[in-house]
Symmetry: none
Subunit: 417 residues, 2 copies
């Protein structure tokens, strides 16, 4: 099972729509990077009774509890007081905490405001956690088998204290055997149920669990195991999953599809030019989100108007009249046109109807053509992507990137043989 870790974030601003609770995600990410998994997280408002109730509910189950927020000097900061009530301890001024607050103000060349006294009034028996970046000291309390850490809600202070005080404490508590190892395989082009059905049919190494997640339009396959044999078993599980799913897996871990393609292009020394119609620059945007795109992206054309298709891509007026701008013929001509104009190894083009308007019975919304040309080859295919404008544009861009990925994979294989 591993350590049972709960997170409690406290603050009105987390629940009134003003801001997202980024602390929970930051804590989960940091803990996951060390192999710890958060079991659950609760966000509540600055209401004394709710804080007391939540602390009792979460602490009752033992394990580890990480609390953020409500340690400030103002009247609506209630966490220390509520912790004293929840855990039946008196609240008293901690001289160590008070000294730390004084030191903080001295470092800034300031005198402590009397209100900051309040931040040293902690539940009896609390151990002080230093705060290198702010006034509020954190504290740690063990209550009936639950190890509770209280941190300020300011993200930078919270993160620094988590790294400095909590992660080492957790590492000490957890034996190596408890740490959960995870490998995420990212899939494009296979639905979640189909992916699961394929993996159901294979026998994974003992102890490896599979879970699924959707990050539209991608499916994430999560292989998990804890214990000494984790790494070897994960390797084997990934090998088996790859054998079964084949090349719908485009990345492992945190890589995006665009990042995968960018790396392939750079490694292969291949240059690319884009001609986008319905995606309106989205493919270029995705490829340039990460640095280094200048190594392979020569140029991109967003050719919304037919005049742009004629000028820049040498699309003949007769082709547009005969087949229309949304056609296999036009997509191929666009890819050839941009490749020749730019003088690149690859020319990629997309044209389609993203909607909501512009659909016809013959070519309904979601009709998209993708074309990829090289010096010696050309490939084109039509799709009918489901969903709204956003969905059609996302699917078009990802499918186009996936074409590049598969093309560059095949090319690399060919080079090897």
């Amino acid at each position: 099972m591993g350590l049972q870790i709960s997170v409690l974030t406290i603050g009105d601003e987390l629940l009134n729509g003003e801001m997202a609770d980024t602390n929970t995600a930051a804590i989960a990410r940091l803990l996951a990077s060390r192999g710890f998994i958060v079991r659950d997280s609760l966000s509540i408002r600055d209401i004394a009774g709710d804080i007391v109730g939540a602390l009792r509910y979460l602490a009752r189950r033992g394990g580890v509890l990480i609390v953020t927020g409500g340690l400030g000097p103002t009247a609506d900061d209630l966490t220390a007081q509520a912790a004293a009530v929840a855990f039946d301890r008196p609240q008293e001024t901690s001289s160590e905490a008070l000294a730390q607050i004084h030191r903080h103000f001295a470092r800034l060349g300031m005198t402590m405001h009397p209100r900051n006294d309040k931040q040293a009034q902690l539940p009896q028996g609390a151990d002080i956690l230093p705060n290198p970046g702010g006034t509020a000291p954190g504290f740690r309390l063990c209550h009936q088998g639950c190890d509770c850490f209280f941190l300020p809600g300011v993200p930078a202070e919270m993160t620094a204290m988590l790294e400095q005080s909590i992660l080492p404490a957790l590492a000490k508590q957890a034996g190596q055997a408890e740490i959960l190892h995870e490998r995420v395989l990212k899939v494009f082009g296979l639905s979640e149920p189909k992916t699961e059905a394929l993996l159901d049919a294979i026998r994974l190494p003992e102890g490896v669990q599979v879970a699924f997640g959707v990050d539209f339009p991608f499916v994430h396959v999560k292989l998990r195991i804890s214990g000494d044999t984790a790494t070897a078993h994960l390797e084997q599980a990934e090998r088996l999953a790859r054998q079964t799913l084949g090349d719908v897996i485009f990345a492992t871990g945190t890589d995006s599809l665009a990042a995968t393609v960018a790396r392939q292009l750079t490694t292969a020394g291949q240059t690319l030019a884009l001609a986008e119609s319905c995606t309106g620059g989205l493919i270029a945007k995705l490829l340039t989100d990460l640095p280094g795109a200048s190594a392979f992206l020569e140029r991109g054309a967003v050719t919304y108007a037919n005049s742009a298709k004629r000028d820049w891509l040498q699309i003949a007026e007769s082709l547009l009249e005969q087949h229309g701008a949304v056609s296999a013929e036009c997509a191929v001509a666009m890819a050839q046109g941009i490749r020749q104009t730019a003088g690149t190894d690859l020319g990629l083009a997309v044209t389609g109807i993203a909607g909501p308007d512009g659909g016809t019975p013959d070519k309904p919304v979601g009709t998209v053509f993708i074309a990829l040309t090289t010096e010696t080859t050309e490939r084109v295919k039509g799709y009918r992507f489901p969903g709204d404008r956003d969905s059609v544009r996302q699917l078009t861009a990802c499918m186009a990137l996936d074409w590049l990925r598969r093309h560059l994979n095949a090319r690399a294989q060919l080079k090897k043989t």
Copy 2:
């Protein structure tokens, strides 16, 4: 006090550091916009026992419970099953839900995968909530005074169903007097503390509260009031805020900056061509996110390589040699070049160093030039935007769009006089 609303989000991915739980914030925001405040929110993993425990804990307190996630077709989707256990009801196939899933696949021209059957197995007595965008139907269950709504975790589906099914139900439950009215003014080009300081100095109508939020790079000013005089007082508050803040306010409500500019261009009948370097297609992408861009966007050039700047924008080699591609001279030439090539009313160009590499002492990362040309005018300005690659690209795109907004505003004023 108003309605007591709790949110429960379910999914391993929310707690293992893979992604932040955006659903809670989205729900809180939508509810807040209708005057409802979330009391607390709990996130848990796909573990049957934890889901049962959380449902019992949250439902025991009555009020309203909104649950998202775990309604998918795979084995790790456990919410419906756990709800049946938690609320002591048998699980049975809902013919209404099944029909809805079949209709969804039929709309997409696909056949239902047998695994999707699972999504129709709901706790007895559940009312079906239609899902206009996906396979998983939602459902509603009243259990011992707690009104529980179950929605899929896919953000777009969740949001649509919240608006369609839940908000009207909540409005029915809450009296009109309780409802908080809100008006959001969106600001670009003024920091949050500066915006607050300016508004602190004015006297708002009685009962109107001001809150602030940041949606980088924008600041949201939220004017809120409840009661019968709400509308009139909000009108007056908006007028005062506009007098004070002036034209840094680019929109009210849910409009984006790009949507504002798109509407202005369409209304003015002005056509636009873009030349993007460091933003790599982001401006074109933003302007084409919403339908109707073909009315004004003739074309966009993503000119990463200098060869593309020469070919398509007629940038002279000597200009590039003398001033470099990141210069005021190059930005103006790009804007003129794209405008002449495309034959549009407006030519907009950006060139800069988004980083992390490519900076020099003279032109550090964040150096960006923006240029806007018309038949009779040209304007160019250099910026040093702070932050990482993402931040520089966002700020560049938004500043460029803001130039268009201000230009079109001035033009509309001129036409009027």
